[in-house]
Each structure stands twice: as structure tokens, then as C-alpha cells.
């Protein structure tokens, strides 16, 4: 099991290069960021540990970014898929090297994780049930709104600015009066509950990319105009790692900057999202 | 036979699968008669007894207890009701006692009256205590069955059946699971019940009891009643050679 360890080196980058692959954690709950390629099969010559997934078995924007990291280090990219909780909690016990999973940089997460520079930015938007007839944020006053449990979206709905942990400048709207928050397992369940005809809530908050995907899938929801806030999404490293992550972080930062500059990230964004999300919104 | 039959069995057959266990049994037992049923192991004594209160379903024929008649034609709800009525008229005492282990002696005895007849609990306790007293076990009323000797268990079982005030008592080898020493106490209780005028059908190996208490002895063999008469007649001048060999066995076998 697990990734790291093996090498005697005390430096994570060195260990990765020595073993010839980097083990990236990502959460394949979300298309198009990160999801399974159910047609792909494991290549026979892979260096990935037998219980890790290979690049052939995963797809999505995050996956392509992760592969770019591996390529730049000259090693193979492999994937671990622990639960989101296990990733965000830190203390990875060196079981994987880095998280490339559209993780929002927040101040609380920074207590246990180190972040790279952002590799893209997504606006958080409000989606409402088409049948509700609501067409503005104000129209949601006094209604129930859904969000994935323990996400930044839930924190925003709860007016928990500390939990949200974003700079004032990235927050564009405040929560309508008297909203009841309904946290479900993931924001995907929010969309599905509305599609199934449940009436426990009339709207949900999540990233624009997810809402776009929901609408493309034909779910009976509409997207309210205007982002409620914007998230900086980055790769994350474990602060409690027994190996030094500094040199790897530097490498990843360097790579992301280069990819922003030469347009490789924009290209990937257009490929997976059909819009370019790699430009900081306040720029 | 002087009085009306209280148990009447007509053309009764019983099969277990392909095995023909009771073969066209016809029997009438008048009120207050004490009948002892004897026969070799496997001759069908228990099955006959259990057909009377429908613990076994007869395959064919009629059983009538105190005017309630159930035959092969009786079906459905009516049959259900009639069988229930027959069971209220009969009390049964098993070889293995079958006391309810999760209830005290007193609870065992009042269970029937209270649950089945809906008698007031207080009244049931009174009745139960009378009967426990008459089997000499009132002092054990708050014990659990486990703590009783076999003889005591069987006497409680008799008290339990009596407290339902049945018209007929059926005993299936009530003493054969007991130490010889304890048999006496149970037989004495049974004698007492008999002398108080209860109709009784008793499957037993206790020849002494049969001789002393029974009005009539019936011998079974291979599912048929082969001999029927007063104890003295059966014991002293059996007509059937099978009865003879049975009696010899009893004499040599018992202690």
C-alpha cells in the first residue's frame, strides 16, 4: 500500500524521483474535474503500486494537471483515492505525496496543509430548481438551500467567514436573509434531490463548473447570474510529512506559473470546461 | 357401561407418511371411568391419546369429547373452534412434564385459567393454590420448575391440567421419566384425582396402579385395540397371546 516511504532520502522530491512515480490524491466524485475512465485499463509496464490507479484509469482537468506535474518531474503519475475527509484533514502519514483535487485555499486548511500557487479559479454560484420560479439571490430569503457538507459553500451559507477562510476581495455576495442550510454528503446529491422531485430545498451552492455539468446533464435547474464568491484552487501538501516537501512545492509552483504563462492551463480548461477558468477573477 | 360416553372415537385412522399407526380405532369412554392403555413401545398409545386432543391430526375418523364432535368433514374456522373447545374439555399430562421453565410453579398453574379462560387473576390464584395444595406442593409455588425434582414437576403438571377443570384427563406415561422412588408420589396424586370422579385415560406401565385404580384396561398392538376389559380379567386371563407376552415383559422388566 501507500506511496512514499521507501527511499532513504529525507526530501520528498528526491524520493519521488528515486522511485520513479508521484502518488497524487484526488477525489473522483466530480466530472469534469476528476472522474474515472471506466474504459481505461491499467498499462502493463506501469510503475504505480498495485493498489493505486494509473493515468489510464482516471480523467479530467485535475487529472491532466497532475499528469503535467509528473511529466515535469520526469516520473510516472499515479493516483490514490482516499475520502475527501482524509485528504483535507492532513496527517497523510506519507501515504500519498500531493493532492491535486481542486482544493480551495482557505486559512483553516492552511493550518495543516501547504498550498501551491492556484492553478485555476472557479466562481461559486447559486443554482435553483427551475420549478421554483426564483430568479435572484434575494428571492431565496427564508428558503432552504443545500450544499455539500463541510465544504466552503456550506461555510458561506452559514456566514462562517472564518470557516470560509477567503480574503474579503474574493467574496462578492452575502447570503440572503433567513436561509436554512441543508448539508448533504456531496453537492452532487443536492442536484439529484431536486431532479428526483424532492422539495426539502429549492437551491444549492457549488462551483460554476459543477452547475454547468448539471445543466448539461439535463437536470431541471437554472444558474443565477453572478458569482457569490471566487475560489483559488491549488495543489496541497501535508505539513506533517516526515519528508521535506519544500523542493517539490517549489517545483510545482514553478510549473504552474509556466503553464499559466504558456497557455497550457487555459488549453486544458477550455478542453474540460469549455471556458477559461485560469485567470484570477479580480485581475 | 352405565353412563353416557364422554369420549367417543369412531373409525379413527392415523398415518405418518406411509406408516399406518392407528388402524380403524373405535372406542367409547363413559364418564368417571378410569382407563389404562397398555401396549408395547411403538404400538400407537401416545398417538391415540394425542389424537383425542388433536395434538395429532387424525387422518380419518371422528373424535367426540363431551358432545363436541370433530370429524374429517369439519373444516376451516369451525374445525379450529371445535378443536379449541375439545382442548378445554381435556387436560393432558406429558411424560416429559413440559412445565414452562420461564414461569414459577404458581404462574405455570394459573397461566391456563388466566390466558385461556380469562378468569380473574386473583380467583385463578385461589384455584391454583387449592390444586397445588391437593398435590402437596403449595410450599413450592414460588420456585422455578428447574428447582423441582421430577416427581414434583409431574405433580405440578397435574395441578396445572386440573386447574383448567377439564372433563377428561389424559396421561401419557406420567411416571416413566421418574426415579422409582418418586413414582409413588405421582401415582398417589393420580389415585386421588381418580377417586374424586375424574374421567381418565392413562397410558402407563404401572401395573399396580392399573390393578388398583383402573375400571378398564385396553391393550394396544400395532395400531389396534386387541383387548379391552376389567383389569382382573386382562391380567389373570388374557385372551390374546400378545397380551400375555406383554405382561410377562412387564413383570421381568420392572424393578
Amino acid at each position: 500500500g501507500g506511496g512514499g516511504g521507501g527511499a532513504a532520502a529525507s526530501d520528498l522530491l528526491g524520493a519521488i524521483q528515486e522511485r520513479g512515480y508521484i502518488l497524487v490524491s484526488t477525489d473522483p466524485n466530480y466530472a469534469p474535474q476528476s472522474f474515472l475512465n471506466t474504459d481505461g485499463s491499467r498499462p502493463s509496464d506501469t510503475k504505480c503500486p498495485s493498489d493505486a490507479l494509473t493515468t489510464a484509469e482516471m480523467q479530467g482537468f485535475d487529472v491532466d494537471v497532475a499528469i503535467a506535474i509528473g511529466d515535469s518531474l520526469g516520473v510516472e503519475t499515479c493516483f490514490a483515492t482516499p475520502s475527501w475527509d482524509a485528504i483535507t484533514a492532513g496527517s497523510w502519514a506519507d501515504k500519498w505525496d500531493v493532492s491535486v483535487g481542486s482544493m480551495t485555499i482557505t486559512t483553516t486548511r492552511q493550518q495543516v496543509l501547504d498550498f501551491s500557487v492556484p492553478y485555476y479559479y472557479t466562481p461559486a454560484v447559486m443554482a435553483v430548481a427551475a420549478s421554483s420560479g426564483i430568479d435572484s439571490l434575494d428571492g431565496l430569503a427564508g428558503q432552504s438551500v443545500c450544499a455539500g457538507a463541510a465544504t466552503t459553500y456550506e461555510a458561506w451559507l452559514n456566514n462562517d467567514m472564518e470557516g470560509l477562510g477567503l480574503p474579503e476581495s474574493s467574496i462578492y455576495a452575502s447570503v440572503p436573509e433567513g436561509v436554512t442550510v441543508v448539508p448533504l454528503e456531496t453537492d452532487q446529491e443536492c442536484a439529484q434531490a431536486i431532479a428526483a422531485g424532492r422539495t426539502d430545498f429549492v437551491a444549492y451552492v457549488t462551483s460554476e463548473t459543477v452547475v454547468n455539468a448539471n445543466i448539461a446533464e439535463g437536470m431541471p435547474v437554472i444558474k443565477l447570474d453572478g458569482a457569490v464568491y471566487s475560489e483559488d484552487l491549488a495543489a496541497a501538501f501535508d505539513k506533517s510529512s516526515t519528508l521535506d516537501t519544500a523542493s517539490l512545492r517549489a517545483k510545482v509552483d514553478e510549473l504552474f506559473k509556466a503553464m499559466h504563462e504558456d497557455g497550457r492551463l487555459s488549453e486544458l480548461s477550455l478542453k474540460w470546461f469549455e471556458v477559461d477558468l485560469t485567470v484570477a477573477p479580480n485581475q | 357401561m352405565t353412563s353416557l360416553p364422554i369420549v367417543k372415537i369412531t373409525d379413527l385412522d392415523k398415518y405418518f407418511g406411509r406408516l399406518h399407526v392407528l388402524k380403524n380405532i373405535n372406542l367409547e369412554v363413559p364418564e368417571r371411568q378410569v382407563v389404562c392403555l397398555i401396549g408395547r413401545s411403538g404400538s400407537g398409545k401416545s398417538t391415540l391419546l394425542r389424537c383425542i386432543n388433536f395434538l395429532e391430526e387424525p387422518s380419518r375418523g371422528a373424535v367426540e369429547v363431551d358432545g363436541i364432535k370433530v370429524n374429517t368433514e369439519t373444516k376451516g374456522r369451525e374445525r379450529h373452534q371445535l378443536i379449541h373447545d375439545v382442548r378445554l374439555k381435556t387436560g393432558m399430562v406429558f411424560q416429559e412434564f413440559n412445565l414452562f421453565p420461564h414461569m414459577t410453579v404458581l404462574e405455570n398453574v394459573i397461566e391456563g385459567p388466566v390466558t385461556v379462560k380469562g378468569i380473574d387473576r386473583k380467583q385463578a390464584i385461589e384455584l391454583a393454590e387449592q390444586n397445588l395444595d391437593s398435590v402437596g406442593l403449595l410450599f413450592k409455588k414460588d420456585e422455578y420448575p428447574l428447582r423441582l425434582s421430577g416427581g414434583q414437576k409431574q405433580r405440578v403438571a397435574i395441578a396445572r391440567a386440573l386447574t383448567m377443570q377439564p372433563r377428561v384427563m389424559l396421561f401419557d406415561e406420567p411416571t416413566s421419566a421418574l426415579d422409582p422412588e418418586l413414582i409413588g408420589e405421582v401415582l398417589n396424586v393420580m389415585k386421588k384425582v381418580a377417586y374424586e370422579g375424574m374421567t381418565m385415560i392413562v397410558v402407563t406401565h404401572e401395573m399396580g396402579f392399573a390393578r388398583e385404580v383402573a375400571d378398564r384396561v385396553i391393550v394396544m398392538s400395532e395400531g389396534k385395540l386387541i383387548e379391552d376389559g376389567e383389569p382382573e380379567k386382562i391380567f389373570n386371563s388374557p385372551q390374546d397371546p400378545r397380551t400375555e407376552s406383554l405382561l410377562i415383559r412387564y413383570k421381568s422388566g420392572g424393578g
Binding site: D85, A150, G163, D200 | L55, F94, H102, G112, V116
Partner: protein
């Protein structure tokens, strides 16, 4: 025969032996108690964050954030009521269904028998998570819109009912035929026989596995919070754990409450076992 050199032991000797026996039993209980305390201390030590040195090796035990624990204890404890409520509701549904299903398996009316068997097979055969999901997200498509709690309790009750019915079935088959016959011979109806004679005895064997079900139900009740409106122990623990990156601490707080519940349940279970064993020992 050797001649009897000794007279009958004096009563005080009997008393001495008896006292020795009692002492031995008390000693056993005391030793067990001490062992428990030692084990508890080891457990606590494991989470004390202490450093220990064994020869060359230096060990660091697990460090918990005690400030976090103190700060969030009350918040997490606030879920206890919901956990209890859902557990009690679900277990009531489950016991009822289990009994019906177990009796259905004894029925000689084919549809009843088949429905019982089908129910047990289908529900044991599929994941609880799907069942909750089904009641919450698929039933609305049939126009049946259950609230989160109702959907959750129904699903949990159905699920545990199926498992428990197997336990009951085993218990029922442990009661001898003679008991049924004695009850029938007294004129009891089959339902009276079942209720008054067979079930109380069947329970004796069913109690320990049922205790298992009750205890694991307290934990599975957490799944109901997936429906969004139930904020029980585990939900609260996961929430604060996630938000403040102290999952282990948060889970341990929840675990302490669950353990307390379990100890209470176990206590009543052993009381009940002793009571039902009254006629048995």
C-alpha cells in the same frame, strides 16, 4: 477400609470453606476490575502524546488536541438526543418487522411465507446506503415524498428488521416442541402460545445477537444524517472535525458517547439475560 481417623468436620470448618469460596469469587471480580482499569489506562496513555524511550527506540504516543476537545465536546454532545431518537424509532420498527418476518417464515400460507423470505433476502442482499438513498431520492419519483428522518428511520428499520428476523428464527427454533404442545393442550391459541410461551423462551437465545443489533444501530443511525436534516453525534463530529482538521479528536469524542450508550445497553442486556435465565440455572 481405613478407619475413620477424623470425625465429621465441625460446622466452623464448613463455614471456613464457604467463606474461602466467596473470597475467591470476590477476588476474581476485583482482579477483573483492576485489569479493566489497567487496560483503560493503557488506552488513555496511547493517546496522551507522551514520549517513551525503550532502549534505543523512542516512541511518541498519539497526540490529541485537548483544546479542540474541550471546545467542541458540548457541541458534539448536542447530537446525542437525535442519535437516541433515531435509534429508538428505528429499533422499534426493526423489532416489529423482524417478528412479523420470523413468524411469516413459520406460516404455511405460501404468499406470507414468500413475502417474508423475499423481504429478508432483498434487504439483506442490498446495502443500507442504497436503501436510505432509495427512500430519500427514488421514492419521490413515485410520488412518495418522505421527510429525511422518516425516510431514514424507515430504511434503517427495514434493514435491521431483516437481519434481526434471522436471529429470531434461530431463537424460535430453539424452543422445544413439548412447550408448544403443552400450551396448545391447555387450550391456548397459536398466537397465545407464541406470545406467552415460545417468544419469552426464544428471547433467551436471541438476546445477545439482538444486543449486537441494538448497539450497532446506535452507530448506523448516523447514516440517516445523509438525508440532510438530522444532526446526530457522528454528523456533528464529522462536521467540526472537518472544519477544524481534527477528525481524530472529533471522532474520539463521538466514540466516547457511543461507548457510554453501549455500556448502558450492555448493562440492561445482561440484566435481561439474567432475568430470562432465571428458570434456567
Amino acid at each position: 477400609m481405613t478407619s475413620a481417623t477424623q470425625q465429621e468436620a465441625s460446622p466452623s470448618h464448613a463455614e471456613l470453606l464457604y467463606q474461602a469460596q466467596l473470597r475467591k469469587e470476590r477476588l476474581f471480580r476485583a482482579h477483573v476490575g483492576v485489569s479493566w482499569v489497567i487496560l483503560l489506562l493503557i488506552l488513555i496513555f496511547l493517546f496522551s502524546g507522551q514520549k517513551i524511550q525503550i532502549g534505543q527506540l523512542e516512541y511518541q504516543t498519539i497526540q490529541l488536541d485537548s483544546e479542540f476537545i474541550l471546545k467542541n465536546l458540548i457541541f458534539i454532545a448536542g447530537g446525542l438526543g437525535q442519535t437516541l431518537l433515531i435509534s429508538i424509532l428505528s429499533i422499534s420498527v426493526a423489532v416489529t418487522l423482524a417478528l412479523l418476518a420470523a413468524l411469516g417464515r413459520l406460516s404455511n400460507f405460501p404468499p406470507i411465507y414468500a413475502i417474508s423470505a423475499f423481504y429478508v433476502s432483498l434487504i439483506r442482499g442490498t446495502p443500507l446506503y442504497l436503501q436510505i438513498f432509495f427512500f430519500f431520492l427514488a421514492l419521490p419519483q413515485l410520488g412518495i415524498n418522505l421527510s429525511g428522518v422518516v425516510a431514514g428511520v424507515t430504511a434503517l428499520g427495514l434493514n435491521y428488521g431483516a437481519y434481526m428476523s434471522e436471529t429470531f428464527r434461530a431463537g424460535l427454533s430453539s424452543v422445544g416442541k413439548g412447550q408448544r404442545e403443552a400450551a396448545l393442550a391447555l387450550g391456548m391459541t397459536s398466537s397465545q402460545t407464541m406470545r406467552r410461551i415460545v417468544l419469552p423462551q426464544a428471547l433467551r437465545f436471541a438476546i445477545p445477537p439482538m444486543g449486537n443489533d441494538f448497539i450497532s444501530m446506535t452507530k448506523d443511525s448516523a447514516l440517516v444524517s445523509a438525508t440532510g436534516f438530522v444532526h446526530e453525534l457522528m454528523w456533528r463530529a464529522v462536521k467540526v472535525g472537518r472544519a477544524q482538521f481534527n477528525n481524530l479528536e472529533a471522532l474520539i469524542i463521538a466514540a466516547m458517547f457511543y461507548w457510554a450508550l453501549t455500556l448502558i445497553l450492555t448493562y440492561f442486556q445482561s440484566k435481561l439475560e439474567t432475568r430470562l435465565a432465571k428458570g434456567d440455572r
